[in-house]
């Protein structure tokens, strides 16, 4: 057995400044903080509103309340999944029953983890800027060890994507019945597309469809799927933000139409 000489550890360079970065390194975490905080504020307000989430006339269902699974739901707003939950207490809205799934998917997403670790937890706020914590154990122990449940939320997010796709399809409902197209239909379609772009570009999805393989050559179909998911995965950050904005825009649009604040712009019927 060979041995190597060990030398006592030497100190690091004595540099007084905590960071010597001269660029605007604080801008990205600040914008991220504002964006995510804005979303959280909107979501919190929205789940307590408990009204104006269903437009019977055009079959628009607000994404925050989809699927509507309680007997408390507005008439007509529950679709193929039915109403498995009973009447809810007055302080509780149907949105609270379902938002844990897409919320959990985003909270444990590898991109969002990066963004909130940097912008909320300052761990670190930017590269080569001190992380501001005395001790750091990362995701090695509870509670951050729970981030490994991202896989479960991915499975749930696929179901959520299917439901939002269904919502987009039924939104092509005319004022006088039958087929119709409104601005709301198009917004819900764009939202569903962006949600799928985000969901299918997920790192867990990339691993499941083929990333875990060692011999791509023995699994050509899974290799093809892996390459396609990889294309979305490269834009995961982009889809994370676009889908977050689109879900808010779609929800707010349905909210405004349902409340009568604006009229839906009808393109056909």
């Amino acid at each position: 057995m060979t041995t190597t000489a060990t030398t006592p550890p030497r100190p690091r360079a004595a540099i007084a400044e905590r960071t010597l970065r001269t660029d605007r390194w604080w801008l990205a975490p600040l914008l991220t903080f504002l964006g995510l905080a804005g979303f959280l504020v909107y979501a919190t307000v929205r789940i307590f509103v408990n009204d104006n989430y269903w437009v019977e006339e055009f079959h628009y269902l607000a994404p925050f309340y989809s699927p509507c699974l309680s007997e408390s739901c507005a008439p007509g707003s529950s679709h193929f999944l039915g109403q498995p939950f009973p009447q809810l207490p007055s302080w509780m809205s149907p949105a609270m029953l379902v938002l844990a799934l897409p919320g959990g998917f985003r909270a444990t997403c590898y991109y969002y983890r990066k963004s909130y670790y940097r912008s909320f937890w300052l761990s670190p706020p930017a590269c080569a800027v001190p992380d501001g914590h005395k001790k750091y154990t990362g995701e090695t122990r509870f509670p951050l060890l729970i981030q490994n449940v991202h896989r479960y939320f991915f499975y749930a997010a696929v179901l959520v994507g299917l439901v939002l796709t269904y919502d987009a399809v039924i939104s092509f409902h005319g004022k006088e019945g039958g087929f119709g197209i409104g601005l709301g239909s198009l917004i819900l379609v764009v939202n569903a597309v962006l949600i799928w772009g985000y969901t299918l570009g997920c790192h867990s999805c990339r691993n499941i469809v083929g990333g875990r393989l060692t011999h791509f050559s023995k699994h050509p179909i899974r290799y093809w799927m892996w390459t396609q998911v990889g294309k979305l995965n490269k834009r995961h950050q982009l889809f994370a933000w676009l889908s977050m904005f689109s879900v808010v825009i779609a929800d707010a649009y349905v909210w405004m139409v349902a409340s009568g604040a604006i009229n839906d712009l009808r393109i056909f019927n």
Binding site: R12, A14, P130, E139, N148, Y155, N207, S217
Partner: protein, 255 residues
């Protein structure tokens, strides 16, 4: 030709400080050119480690205006005309003198990784692999071992106490390279990455990827896939069930 203001950290393990210099800068030069000019004109005892001056040897890692980078790949025209340029040694490793640090931490971590283990029934010369199977591992072979990723990783940069338990991004790509290698016979790379290399310390804030001069997608292509492979083994009930039902853990061809 212009004259530019530089601040260079001078000192050793006993202490040091930023020292001011005004130095000539010519069109097309990089920061390493300026450091060499300082050595030639004003500071002949200035210590700097360098070799290829082409971004391929990984020797001249430092921090320029606080950002980890290679001195030889940081062009002077990326700075404003009146901007002071501050050059310091990498912070995460012990300083030896001026811009030279002791990076032996990385070699110690490298030695801890079990070496490539070919299948027992293959002799040298009999290895056969398809390109599609090895190209993921090949991305990681671009690493020039500049250790900028190790330097910028806050897990050890800001927490010296984590050095014993954390191998760092450079060695996570080595772990991924071997785990994804079609001819590596070891089956415990994932467990090793989690339990011995401290994969869980990484909170995927991607600074390693940002500073990599070879543009290796360290986080997306190595660290996250390794985290996901650990989840496959330890946390995913569907994968666990599939392995049990189909006995995949016993079928080498399914890998």
């Amino acid at each position: 030709m212009t004259t530019r203001h530089f601040r260079v950290w001078r000192g050793d393990d006993q202490g040091g400080a930023l020292t001011d210099y005004d130095v000539e800068v010519n069109e097309g030069e990089v920061v390493l050119d300026i450091v060499h000019r300082l050595q030639a004109t004003q500071a002949p005892d200035l210590a700097v480690r360098w070799n290829c001056k082409a971004g391929k040897c990984g020797s001249c890692s430092a921090e320029i205006n606080g950002k980890p980078g290679l001195l030889c790949m940081t062009r002077m025209n990326t700075f404003g005309p009146d901007e002071t340029v501050t050059v310091t040694p990498v912070r995460t490793f012990p300083v030896m003198r001026d811009l030279v640090t002791d990076v032996s931490f990385n070699y110690e971590k490298a030695r801890e990784i079990p070496a490539f283990a070919p299948p027992a029934d293959l002799k040298p010369g009999e290895y056969r692999m398809q390109q599609v199977d090895v190209e993921r591992s090949q991305e990681f072979r671009k690493c020039i071992e500049c250790f900028l990723c190790q330097n910028t990783c806050h897990v050890i940069r800001d927490h010296e106490e984590n050095k014993a338990a954390f191998a760092g991004p450079r060695f996570f790509i080595r772990a991924a390279e071997l785990d994804m290698h079609p001819l590596d016979a070891r089956d415990d790379r994932k467990e090793f990455a989690q339990e011995e290399q401290g994969l869980g310390f990484c909170n995927i804030t991607k600074c390693c990827t940002e500073v990599c001069p070879e543009h290796i997608k360290i986080t997306d292509n190595a660290i996250i896939p390794m985290k996901e492979r650990v989840v496959d083994r330890k946390y995913d009930p569907l994968t666990w069930l599939g392995r049990k039902i189909f006995r995949r853990d016993q079928l080498e061809s399914q890998k």
